[in-house]
Amino acid sequence: MAIYVNKDIQVKVNTVDLTTYVTSVEVVNAVDSVEVTSMSASAVNGHIFTGGLQNNTVTINFNQDFAATKVHATLKGLVGVPTTVVVRPTSAVAAAGTNPDFTVTSALMSEYRPVMGAVGDLATVGAITFSGGLYTETA
């Protein structure tokens, strides 16, 4: 797979495919930095860190749709409930080494804004962030 332009990123939240409502998505695989600096006569003058717990996030911007089974129906029951989010770079192609599924399990959406925006704006739910959980990449 060569370099490409984002236009077909597949996003599934709680096993529901909401791809056609997504305007942007960001998957961040992160770990906490845990300081292990200690007293030492020989150590250099700087902090020393080691990797701690995973601190992953998936941030998704959705257009809003209150129709049955669509955006609102999918998200309204997930506030404060751990779930699974799967992001695939290209939906039209099966998961493979060149098109892997990025999965975060036990991710938590702590807030949801069903209505937001100013007059004349497109109705969106803004940026929804799923935090925590375990990050895996599968072909």
Binding site: T15, V16, A68, T74, G77, T83, V86
Partner: protein
Amino acid sequence: MATYKVIADNVSGKKPGDTITDEELIGCSVEALILGGHIEANKTSKPTKEAEAE
């Protein structure tokens, strides 16, 4: 093993009318899927009195 009937057309890998098991839903919130109208619990039919008598 609990099973559910898929109602929505956007449940990954399923079509409306398909059955989905709780094993397939590991890591997902079944309550949120039912609340959202994506799935419903499969109804188990009770045996009739005639069937019980046989």
